[in-house]
C-alpha cells in the first residue's frame, strides 16, 4: 500500500477498519463517503476521488471491485470496497486518493443559487483563454485544482531581481512555481473560487489560466502587481481580470487615491479589475457630522485596552471649509486646536501625560481639492495606546456649515478602534481599492450558514441565510457615487486549502478544502464570471461588464435597476448573462 497517496482522513478510517472491523467505520459515516454495511454480507465500501493521469486506463482495477466512474480525466470518482484502497494506491497511474464527503453536495450551494451551472452548460464557457490575476497572499502551487494552469507567480516577498514593474521579488515559472508558498491560505482560497477545477468545490471559471502575485499587501506593490498581470496578458494576447480581495481606509473614499487612479488608468478593453467592498458592515469605523459655522462638536471613539499599538483618524471635508481639531485622551488631557497649516510642515506633535499625538492638517488635497486631517495616537515605544474613550473635538472656523467624514484606523487584523455615539454612520465604508470608478466592486450574500467540519462537528455561523451578509460594507462613496456595483455569494464558501496554511479545524471540511467568509470570497465569484464573459468577448471593458452585471442583478423585492448602498444593484443571476 502506498500510504503517501491516501488522504489522512481516509487513512484514519482504514486503520479503524483494520483494528475494529466494520464497526470502526460507523463514526466515519457522517464525515466520509463510507458505507460500513454492518450486518450485511456486502463488503464495507467507500466513495473516493482519484487524482490520476489524464488518460490513465484504470479498467484493470475492476478485479478488486473498484468501479471508476469516468474513463478519463485528472480527477475521477470511484466506488470501492475498503480493502481495495491498498491495490488502488499501488497503481502507478494513481497520484492521490481523497475521501468523498456526504455533506459536500449540500454545502456546495453558492454557484447553484445564482445559476452558474446552467449558464456554463448553456454557454459552454469555462474561462478558457482568459487570464485571472490574483494579487493576494500567494497560492498553493501543488493544489490539484490548479494543475497546469498557473502561468507565473511574481512572489514579491522573495529576494530576487524583480520584474519590469518592480525591482523586487522573484518571478517564477514552470517547475519553479513551487518555490512560492501561501502560508496564510487566503490567496489559495480566493483563487479556487475564481478558477479551481474540482467536481464538487470547483470555481466559476475552471478553464481560465492564472497569474499570481504574492504581495506584502502594500498598496503600491498591489498597483505594481496589477500592471504586471496586465502586461503578461498583453504579451500573451489574452484578456485578463484581476482580483483584489483586500482593502483599507487610509484614503478619501472617493476613488481619488493612488491605487484607485492606477486601476482606472490600467483598466480597459479586456482588462478588468474586481475589488471587494469590505467587511466593516458591523464595525463603527465611520463617523459623520455636520459642523455648523462657528460651532464646536465632539465625536467619541473607543480604543480597546492593551492591544492597539497604532490608532489613527482619517478625516475629510470640503476644501471651502476650514476646521480646527483637537484630541482629548481618556485621562482628559487635551491637545491645542490645530487648523489648516498652509506653509512648511503641517505636522505637529503633542506629548501629553498619557499619550503622544501627531496631528497633520495640510492644505487642500491635490487629488480632489478637499481638506483632510490625519491624527495618529501613539504611546511610548513598545507600549499599547491607552485604552478607553477618546474624543475628537472639531471647531468650524469657516463661514458655512461643513460636513465632516472620518474613518478610524488601527494595526489589527480587523478594526478594533471604533466610533461611539450619535456620529456613527453606517455608510461610506467602501475604501480603496473598492472605491475605484473603473473597478467592479462586490458585496457579499450569504448562501450557507452551516457545514460539517473535518472532525464531524456541525458548525453554524450567525448570518442570515439567503440575504445580504451583514458584514458587507456599505456605500456610497463620499462624493455620492454608487458603490458597490454587485452582490455575489461570499458566505460560507468552501474552496481550496493551502497545504502550507494552518486553518482552524472548524473551518476545514477535509484536508483539501475549507469554508471561509467575506467580501474576499464574493469578489473572485464575480472575477470568475467576468472571465467567462471575456472568453465570449475579449473586448469587453469595465463599463460593458458593469452594464451586463447590472442587467442581470436584482435586490429581492425591488424592481430591476434599483441601487442600494448595501447591495449595489443586487445579487447576480448568471442565468441570462
Amino acid at each position: 500500500m502506498r500510504h503517501e497517496k491516501i488522504a489522512p482522513q481516509l487513512m484514519v478510517a482504514l486503520e479503524n477498519y483494520q483494528e475494529e472491523g466494520r464497526a470502526g467505520l460507523i463514526r466515519h459515516m457522517r464525515s466520509l463517503g463510507v458505507i460500513p454495511s454492518v450486518g450485511s454480507p456486502k463488503p464495507a465500501r467507500a466513495v473516493v476521488f482519484i487524482h490520476c493521469e489524464e488518460q490513465a486506463r484504470l479498467d484493470s482495477l475492476a478485479q478488486y471491485g473498484i468501479r471508476v466512474n469516468q474513463p478519463r480525466g485528472r480527477i475521477r470518482t470511484a466506488f470501492l470496497p475498503i480493502e481495495s484502497i491498498g491495490p488502488l494506491s499501488d497503481d502507478p497511474a494513481v497520484e492521490r486518493i481523497i475521501s468523498s464527503h456526504y455533506l459536500r453536495l449540500r454545502m456546495d450551494v453558492a454557484p447553484g443559487k445564482v445559476h452558474i451551472p446552467e449558464f456554463r452548460r448553456n454557454s459552454r464557457l469555462s474561462g478558457k483563454g482568459v487570464i485571472i490575476g490574483i494579487v493576494d497572499t500567494g497560492i498553493d502551487p501543488n493544489h490539484p485544482v490548479f494543475l497546469g494552469r498557473i502561468l507565473r507567480i511574481w512572489d514579491q516577498t522573495l529576494t530576487g531581481p524583480g520584474v519590469a514593474e518592480g525591482g523586487y521579488g522573484l518571478e517564477l515559472i514552470g517547475a519553479q512555481l513551487t518555490a512560492s508558498r501561501d502560508r496564510e491560505g487566503h490567496g489559495t482560497h480566493v483563487a479556487g473560487i475564481a478558477a479551481g477545477f474540482d467536481p464538487v468545490f470547483g470555481g466559476i471559471a475552471p478553464g481560465a489560466d492564472l497569474v499570481i502575485v504574492k504581495s506584502d499587501l502594500q498598496d503600491a506593490h498591489i498597483a505594481d502587481g496589477i500592471r504586471y498581470i496586465f502586461r503578461i496578458a498583453h504579451d500573451l494576447g489574452r484578456a485578463a481580470v484581476v482580483n483584489l480581495s483586500l482593502g483599507g481606509h487610509y484614503d478619501a473614499h472617493d476613488g481619488s487615491d493612488s491605487l484607485s487612479q492606477i486601476i482606472d488608468m490600467e483598466s480597459g478593453e479586456g482588462r478588468i479589475v474586481c475589488c471587494a467592498a469590505g467587511n466593516e458592515g458591523n464595525d463603527n469605523i465611520h463617523a459623520q457630522g455636520i459642523i455648523p459655522a462657528g460651532a464646536l462638536r465632539t465625536i467619541r471613539f473607543r480604543i480597546p485596552t492593551g492591544m492597539v499599538h497604532l490608532a489613527a483618524l482619517n478625516g475629510w471635508y470640503p476644501g471651502v471649509n476650514s476646521l480646527e481639531v483637537s484630541i482629548r485622551t481618556p485621562g482628559k488631557f487635551v491637545t491645542p486646536f490645530q487648523g489648516v497649516i498652509s506653509s512648511g510642515s503641517y505636522v505637529r506633535t503633542y506629548t501629553l501625560p498619557d499619550a503622544r499625538i501627531r496631528i497633520a492638517t495640510p492644505g487642500p488635497d491635490p487629488a480632489n481639492g478637499d481638506h483632510n486631517f490625519f491624527i495618529e495616537m501613539g504611546a511610548p515605544p513598545g507600549l499599547p495606546v491607552r485604552g478607553g474613550t477618546w474624543q475628537l473635538r472639531v471647531r468650524n472656523i469657516s463661514a458655512t456649515d461643513a460636513r465632516l467624514d472620518i474613518w478610524t484606523l488601527d494595526d489589527q487584523i480587523s478594526p478594533e478602534v471604533v466610533f461611539t455615539g450619535a456620529s456613527v454612520k453606517d455608510s461610506m465604508k467602501i475604501g480603496s481599492p473598492g472605491a475605484a470608478a473603473g473597478a467592479i466592486t462586490v458585496a457579499s450574500y450569504t448562501t450557507k450558514v452551516q457545514w460539517t467540519d473535518i472532525d464531524g462537528h456541525v458548525r453554524t455561523v450567525g448570518l442570515v441565510l439567503d440575504d445580504i451578509s451583514d458584514f458587507s460594507s456599505e456605500g456610497p462613496l463620499r462624493n455620492g457615487k454608487q458603490k458597490p456595483d454587485v452582490t455575489a455569494p461570499g458566505a460560507m464558501i468552501v474552496s481550496c486549502l493551502s497545504a502550507d496554511s494552518q486553518p482552524s479545524r472548524a473551518e476545514m471540511v477535509n484536508p483539501s478544502f475549507l469554508a471561509m467568509a467575506g467580501t474576499s470570497m464574493a469578489t473572485p465569484f464575480i472575477a470568475g464570471i467576468v472571465a467567462l464573459l471575456l472568453e465570449r468577448d475579449p473586448k469587453l471593458g469595465p463599463q460593458d461588464i458593469k452594464t451586463l452585471l447590472r442587467a442581470h442583478s436584482l435586490i429581492p423585492g425591488q424592481s430591476a435597476g434599483t441601487f442600494d448602498p448595501k447591495w449595489g444593484f443586487g445579487l447576480i443571476d448568471a442565468l441570462g448573462l
Partner: protein, 93 residues
C-alpha cells in the same frame, strides 16, 4: 526645502518620525506631471524608482526621507502619497 504641499498627511506624519534620513523606509506613490522631460526619468531612476515605460504618470518606489524631500522639490512632481498596507477581507466580525 521640503514642499509639504506635495506630501499627503500620512507621509508627512511618517517623515516626522524618521530617525535615519537615508534609510529607504517609505513606500510611496509618486504622481507626476505629463512631461517628456528626460530629467524626470533620470531623476527617478537615480532614486531607484521603477520607471516602466517612463510614460506613466504615477510611479511607485521605496525611498528614504531624504529622497522624499528631494522629490517634493521637483517641478514635475505633483504630489507624493504614502503606500499603506491593506487588509485581507475574510473572517469578518
Amino acid at each position: 526645502m521640503t514642499d509639504y504641499k506635495k506630501l499627503d498627511a500620512a507621509l508627512a506624519t511618517a517623515l516626522e518620525s524618521a530617525q535615519d534620513s537615508e534609510a529607504p523606509l517609505f513606500s510611496v506613490f509618486i504622481h507626476t506631471e505629463p512631461t517628456s522631460d528626460k530629467a524626470k526619468v533620470a531623476f527617478l531612476e537615480k532614486l531607484g524608482v521603477n520607471i516602466g515605460s517612463g510614460e506613466q504618470l504615477i510611479f511607485t518606489g521605496t525611498l528614504s526621507a531624504h529622497a522624499v524631500r528631494e522629490l517634493s522639490e521637483q517641478p514635475w512632481v505633483r504630489y507624493l502619497k504614502l503606500s499603506r498596507k491593506l487588509r485581507l477581507l475574510n473572517d469578518p466580525k
